[in-house]
Subunit: 307 residues, 2 copies
């Protein structure tokens, strides 16, 4: 057994599955040994590495800029889909879906250069707080997962985020909060245009979606960005199921994991009724597909870092 620093994980089937898997793939000369360069681990972000309730952080991020824009152009308050965003009209937001929400964000940030976006996002993340929990969003990363990422890297894994959220926003905190470098973040993205502005080459964000990194697109983007089938994958919704199956059906030892949010006391309890990102098929078929379910209530000793 490798040394484990998974102190925020309770003993149980999930923790044992992780420790056993890492021990097997790192045992040189053993039947399940995996060369370090093939130790690829992919993690979803929203709901897997940080809190996604009552809505994905991406939504609050887009809405705050939209509100500033609506001050200057009040007609936005009357136009859909902006109206629903501004009023947090959940029926319309649910109809828009995760992709529709991302498209509103893309429209809101269009015209910014990557450097402007980066500065804006850093400032926003430094002060933006969760509406119910009252803490900074960046403090709502899951402590057991941060420990797991560190544990995997200490055992020669390369850790990646593969998220439906916007790639650029995640990159602004992934290095600091998860120890995951910017180039190891995969997510939804918009097209950009390269142009010279005042003698400086700039990437300008366009309103057009380039890739919406959800469901079957996650394996495609893993192929594009990483070029290797992960041997460990961790998700929390049906949007991650294709990634989990892509991982799990590869040859050799594989571990696919799913967070089940069943802890209304310490975080939130939800699965199939969260319309923007339901967990239903993945939960129903976890046994059949060989996916290890991690119950937040049972398996995590702590949820967030001590405040």
């Amino acid at each position: 057994m490798p040394n484990s620093s998974l102190s925020s994980w309770n003993d149980g089937a999930a923790k044992s599955a992780i420790l056993d898997f890492v021990a097997r793939v790192t045992r040189e000369g053993g039947p399940d040994f995996v060369r370090p360069e093939e130790r690829v681990a992919t993690f979803d972000n929203d709901g897997t590495l940080w809190c996604e309730q009552p809505l994905q952080v991406q939504f609050f991020f887009g809405r705050d800029l939209l509100e500033a824009m609506a001050e200057r152009d009040p007609s936005l308050k009357e136009r859909q889909p902006f109206k629903a965003y501004l009023e947090r009209d959940m029926a319309t937001i649910n109809d828009l879906g995760k992709k529709g929400l991302f498209e509103v964000g893309a429209a809101v940030h269009a015209g910014m250069t990557e450097d402007e976006f980066d500065a804006y996002a850093h400032n926003w993340l430094a002060t933006a707080k969760h509406p119910k929990l009252g803490r900074l969003f960046t403090e709502l990363t899951y402590q057991p997962q941060v420990e797991l990422l560190e544990f995997l890297r200490a055992n020669g894994f390369k850790t990646f985020i593969v998220s439906g959220g916007g790639i650029d926003l995640i990159r602004c905190f992934a290095e600091g909060r998860y120890g995951i470098a910017r180039d190891q973040v995969v997510g939804s993205s918009v097209k950009t245009r390269f142009e010279m502005r005042n003698g400086r080459g700039e990437l300008v964000k366009l309103a057009e979606l380039d890739s919406f990194d959800d469901r079957e697109i996650k394996p495609h983007n893993i192929g594009l960005h990483i070029g290797r089938r992960p041997i460990l994958a961790f998700g929390n919704s049906d949007g991650d199921l294709a990634m989990l199956r892509y991982c799990k059906t590869g040859q050799g030892p594989r571990l696919a994991l799913l967070v089940h949010h069943d802890d209304a006391e310490r975080e939130f309890a939800y699965d199939r009724e969260f319309r923007l990102s339901p967990l239903a098929e993945a939960l129903d078929k976890a046994d059949e597909y060989g996916i290890t379910v991690v119950g937040m209530k049972r398996d995590w000793r702590a949820v967030f870092e001590a405040g």
Copy 2:
């Protein structure tokens, strides 16, 4: 000065520029110090890291499979653009352009799963030889550049390939030949479809282009895959100019370099007349843009690894 193992580089302005730059960005407390996570170096592949004459290796790779297909379906021999490919009809090939050539390759490899492609490409690379130089293509990587990549990594840089060539083919030899991991390769790509085949999740290559990674698309793909502006970039054609300017016009110390193939004796001498990938504007404006020109004849003591 950091220790240099650039033994295949002749002393001169180019080598000095490299040594000086690396010394400056790694000197802690110095005015030009760059944190290791920001030491991103991007390299074009064809003509910058390995030989691209008389045609890019990608062409020979696609043609060999196309020939096998034409054995089974002789009608391909009469249909353009396949006919030009099979007959190496340079006039038509030049009209197709680099993007057209890549599209033929995409059509040829469509339907393969990523695993099938990987196995096929590894086998091909193990035996395929350059038509004039008589050596394996994989032996035609430039020794000075392999040393430079190692030197940069030894000084805390993260090295990336950003190529117009197919991302999957490059990934099959970049780790072994350049020490560049699969996820640090950016290139042209096709769309894929994720599907379950006999209980196994597979990425199937489609004939449709996803990204043709040339000219202004290179900075876009750097933004997408790396998420950081490179502080060092190295190319050899006008297809790399946007990447070189993107690098060079960033704030802080930057080094942009250009290989000029002026060595007919040891390799090939060409620039503006190579229609598939000309070097003209980048050479004419190198001074104005602050790009360091590396003359193969003058600056490289050796070109290829000793055979």
